[in-house]
Point group: C2
Chain length 351, copies 2
């Protein structure tokens, strides 16, 4: 296969972890006879510094022209805690999601046996956890009309959803559930919100098209509780943008494997793959960041092209590195650890 | 002191646990020479069944005429999973909050040493956890304009806040922080929402009035993570209605003492006290429900009247019961357990 991949390294540790994912992907290409062309482009604080814009048009053009986007991380301390800043890296992220039509954020949370003890939760609570959130990513309160009235004294944010938006996300949820254990949980706040009632009635109406899928409906506050109590009772969860923001982050810390969690954001035309961790500015350039989440994001990318053996090969290499203790310091428990680059080399060699 | 208390027992186990709180409060009144008049009133599914309304005007009048409201729990399975039901217990709750002006929901999460092992979190993560959420309760997306457009195909919920609404909640947060360890965390999503930017700028402007309080600002998704990782790193947290709904429920399960957590909802004129647990319909009438959260809600009620010794006496009785193992089956770990009524009697006797 010939693959054109846009490469958005971003800020902080982004470039370092992206380099390892490229290395591993190139090893995959070699082994499985693919040809990957990497198309680097600016984003985040790096893009603001260079051209005054966190998601420049030139970057967008490169993403659109590519078959997929591999993304590092964005964010820089100089933009934090300054709600009045007019240009912020996050805006680039939102603009990118919207312009690329990435309406479904796929966020798996699973455990690695060797990392179970890193979880804040007791082992018996998380063993076997393997769930996937599908978060709606281009609608809801993030993108509704927002502003001020009364000379700035009143602020508002409008949350809006159309049935079509709910449907296209729910279709992905049902389809994913069919490839897994056929359990789907729709997370909403239908006892209070009209948008949630639209979500619930839309999903209810779709149940008949997927008679094998067992669908449950839970309120977002109840899910926030049960994720901590019995995370392994969930399988596929679908939810709207803001609830998804909160719950996927909550879910990410329960497994003890947060530093290893990949994600995908997909639409009809485009797809983007990125680690869930941030830009970790303090670690920039120190060759200590864990590249595995980005490498596993590349695995999701191959799988999204239907290249399942390729994805499996990457996952196997990561598992071997974990078993062999060939890991960065965050996973070394005070024992011997290796650099970002060395772990990337090891993984590429073991493909 | 002469106290007039509205008594809203509600549904499910509500009446049973309320009875115990009344018993314990009466014991307090006797010991400390107060005179309590209890004014029972209908609410929840019980009120819908009786008069077709979950928060009847007669109930509201009784609440307004009383010095405080002691509340059990509401909710009945026949209203669940039916987003189209036109009258629901929850609506009564929202109407009650709004009409009584209960704008601040006070939700402590603390640990009881004897219950630490019931937490899904590891002991070292939760030891010493003692935090309080102040959740804004009468504004935001719960009460903004909501509805449908495009023949029902589009739904919307508007989230609105005024500076004055943020201020009165934040004042309570700063004041509470001053009586504790002077740490206040403002939880928002100021990188995306205009209402959150209003929250943040309003709280920032108030910092100068409370120079001793150390204020931090965190995004709601980050808090959802850190609550699981390091709950004991928080003290007082203030947040808007929907974030508060999700985060207080998440926080409630981390301590292992969820069944014991009380809460208060206060305004300028009125105050209401209730356990955070629900109506637990399956346990109705079985004399197995744990009354301690409701009893501790009564403690918060006395404390809200400035009667701190009275509150302390109730808390001491609960602690003694826990130490003595005089508990309901949820806390008995398969050992000897006692009925709702028996635990209430024991607590009253030990005041
Ligand atoms: C940075 C922020 C705008 C973003 C979001 O809220 O979507 C982030 O939290 C995420 O989840 O990717
Ligand atoms: C029942 C529901 C309307 C309510 C809320 O969301 O406020 C409940 O979850 C709560 O937190 O008291």
């Amino acid at each position: 296969m010939k693959l054109n991949i846009a490469l958005l390294a971003g800020d902080g540790i982004g470039p370092e972890v992206i380099d390892q994912a490229v290395k591993v992907s190139d090893a995959i290409a070699k082994k499985f006879n693919h040809e990957i062309t990497w198309n680097p482009a600016l984003t985040g604080a790096a893009a603001i510094d260079a051209v005054g814009e966190p998601y420049p048009d030139a970057t967008h053009d490169i993403c659109v022209a590519s078959d997929a986007v591999l993304f590092g991380a964005i964010g820089h301390p100089k933009y934090d805690n300054d709600p009045s800043a007019t240009v912020r890296p996050e805006q680039g992220l939102l603009k990118m999601r919207k312009k690329l039509g990435l309406f479904a954020n796929v966020r798996p949370t699973f455990t690695f046996p060797s990392l179970l003890d890193k979880s804040p939760l007791k082992r018996e609570r998380i063993e076997g956890t393997d769930l996937v959130f599908l978060r709606e990513l281009t609608g809801g309160i993030y993108f509704g009309e927002k502003g001020r009235r009364d000379g700035g004294e009143t602020a508002f944010d409008n949350c809006v959803y159309t049935r079509a938006e709910v449907q296209r996300l729910a279709v992905k949820g049902f389809e994913l559930a069919m490839t897994r254990s056929k359990k789907l949980c729709c997370v909403d706040k239908a006892n209070v919100l009209e948008t949630s009632r639209l979500w619930r009635e839309t999903v209810q109406a779709m149940e008949k098209d997927y008679p094998e899928v067992e669908v449950s409906y839970e309120f977002v506050d109840a899910v926030a509780m049960r994720l901590v109590q019995w995370p392994n009772s969930y399988d596929v969860l679908i939810t709207e943008n803001l609830f998804g923001d909160i719950l996927t982050d909550e879910a990410s810390v329960i497994s003890g494997s947060m530093g290893l969690m990949p994600s995908a954001s997909v639409g009809t035309e485009n797809a983007l793959f990125e680690p869930i961790h941030g830009s970790y500015p303090q670690a920039t350039g120190l060759n200590i960041a864990n590249p595995m989440a980005t490498v596993l994001s590349a695995a999701m990318m191959f799988e999204n092209f239907g290249l399942h053996e390729e994805g499996k090969a990457i996952r196997a290499a990561v598992n071997s590195a974990l078993d062999a203790g060939f890991v960065t310091e965050d996973l070394a428990d005070g024992g011997k650890s290796y650099g970002t680059k060395e772990v990337g080399d090891w993984l590429a060699k073991n493909i």
